[in-house]
Symmetry: C2
Subunit: 101 residues, 2 copies
């Protein structure tokens, strides 16, 4: 069983290649987070929003990460963080080739 | 370049194995949607919410799908559909082993 964490928030930037430069070290550290399987980094430079789609091994590890990450974003001056955790429905996901492991 | 579509909404059920039975045919049809690479089916039986994380080849195909899917959900009696489309930041996503293709 695995769990999706979806997070998004308003952000002034950087986006694209500048975002890569700014957050490479942070991305490397995320690989050490308990229960993390993968993260997809998301961005919308027009709407000035960014976020991430994460896959975790357990609901507890997803919850713990969301609490920590929300506090970190608050520290960056980002006040409103949208975060939701869902269980993956493996049967339907496998039909649509979804990467759930 | 690829695009994430994240969708969630309130739903009374079914969840789990019953959800698989109910939506297997729909899942199969989703593989034929223009530009779709994969879909992860998400659910939260306690909060009575469900949704999906989709990867699309283009922003246009993600937008087109979201419009169609919102109308379909409205037809199921689901009035409020949360849907957002983001570009994938490939550089950071590759560091975190994210499945962006």
């Amino acid at each position: 069983m695995s769990y999706i964490l979806q997070v998004d928030f308003k952000m002034e930037g950087p986006f694209g290649n500048e975002m890569v430069k700014e957050f490479t070290d942070l991305a490397k550290s995320i690989n050490d987070e308990e229960g993390l399987i993968w993260k997809i980094w998301t961005e919308d430079s027009e709407a000035k929003e960014a976020g991430g789609i994460y896959l975790f091994e357990t609901k507890e590890s997803a919850c713990k990460y969301l609490t920590m990450h929300t506090a970190r974003l608050n520290g960056f001056g980002i006040e409103k963080v949208n975060g939701k955790i869902f269980e993956v429905n493996e049967g339907l996901t496998s039909i649509n080739h979804g990467p759930s492991k």
